[in-house]
Symmetry: C2
Subunit: 266 residues, 2 copies
Amino acid sequence: MGFLRSFSLFCLISVAFAHEAFDSHLLPRPLILEFPEGVVNQVKELDEEIKLRCDSWRFNVEANNLNPWKTIPKNCSEYVKQYVTGRAYQLELEIASNEAEIFAKTVKLVGDGKDVWIFDIDETLLSNLPYYTDHGYGSESFKPDEFDNWVEKATAPPLQPSLELYKELLDLGFKLVLLTGRSEKQRESTTRNLINAGFYDWDRLVLRRDDDQGKSAILYKSEKRSEMENEGLRIIGNSGDQWSDLLGTSVSVRSFKLPNPMYYIS
Amino acid sequence: MGFLRSFSLFCLISVAFAHEAFDSHLLPRPLILEFPEGVVNQVKELDEEIKLRCDSWRFNVEANNLNPWKTIPKNCSEYVKQYVTGRAYQLELEIASNEAEIFAKTVKLVGDGKDVWIFDIDETLLSNLPYYTDHGYGSESFKPDEFDNWVEKATAPPLQPSLELYKELLDLGFKLVLLTGRSEKQRESTTRNLINAGFYDWDRLVLRRDDDQGKSAILYKSEKRSEMENEGLRIIGNSGDQWSDLLGTSVSVRSFKLPNPMYYIS
């Protein structure tokens, strides 16, 4: 690359001065060509350094080492945008869902309708990427009213790998429970959105009731899982984009953490 | 880039044939120059595709979605090598240790000598990278005898970010417990290695006794933590490169998962 640029420069000079006597005062003109190269390389190195650091931040996010993190590092806004709108996000979702499917197929269901797989909704079944595209991909502070308006629209698309896993689990005979931090007031819009996005035949949709408000997600979801266990349900699998979907008490046999570098919920 | 290459090619042709009449039978010679460009681009795209896929695999490894995984994907051997020998691994270790230190400083110690931080040893305090450099960075099947020989040498270097965290925790007044899957038979070599690597003043070094052999790491380590709790120790923090260091029962208040794409221990 360096050679090619140098050689091009040499050629440019050769062409420019082919019929001129070599004259040192003319040198600054072609030399300007090298200036952008230096700048470009600096920018590229900076980009690579930022990418490396943001990658390292994201690995620590997904390993739950940064619990709880409040904001995306300032330098990583563009990185997060490129990640969630690019192929890496899709690939990671696919690998997680494929792995969940492989596990699900190894499970011998009792067949009494009590083998449960739990799904979270936001960033697990439904993608709020259209909303976050207009809100800095998580780099802006969360605006509850604006997000509620978005939920009312019921237009969030499905995360395709999750939809495929969902269908496969239904075919395998799992009872599907959707356990979300959304409010009971959003039951209608949430149901409408799920159906629009291709989801069907869930066993129950559990939303926060008034007396669940103010609880941490990890406590609220643990309580709901505990109630299910007390009913005799067996929680085999659990898919969520937040560690608070998966940890706590009455946890599933296997859980699957979907990537989400946009926000963290305790 | 494309322009530069084309222009260079044009220049090469110009130079090559500057004093020759243009003759079509000579064209194949300079055109050969374009062949490596195509190949180079294909290789680059392949590299980027492999990197993307191996990145996605590694994110799923660190999020514990691939539990248990037995081998590095064949295409990712070179990726893992570059990762563990490069800056990304160091950066991720630094972020994890920094975060652990930030957390540790928020803890109000009781001061009765019962506030405990647990460290795993291999790939947590000590780096076996010199060994894995000679054994395909985890892509070869594990050879217990050869690894035991390596342990006997007691020359594993420290993971620097872990050593810094270790010292800081001692200064803060934590009681440090080293809980490892290594065998009691390796107590002397392990102690020697730890001291050589700069570790000191641990409270206890717990290794597998004969009756611990055959237990999964997650069970063995949970049992040992449970025994500590029964002694009245409070397990505040836990650092390990394996999820089996951190999950199970009697878990710590906060745990820190260090990266390790070379091997998985159940």
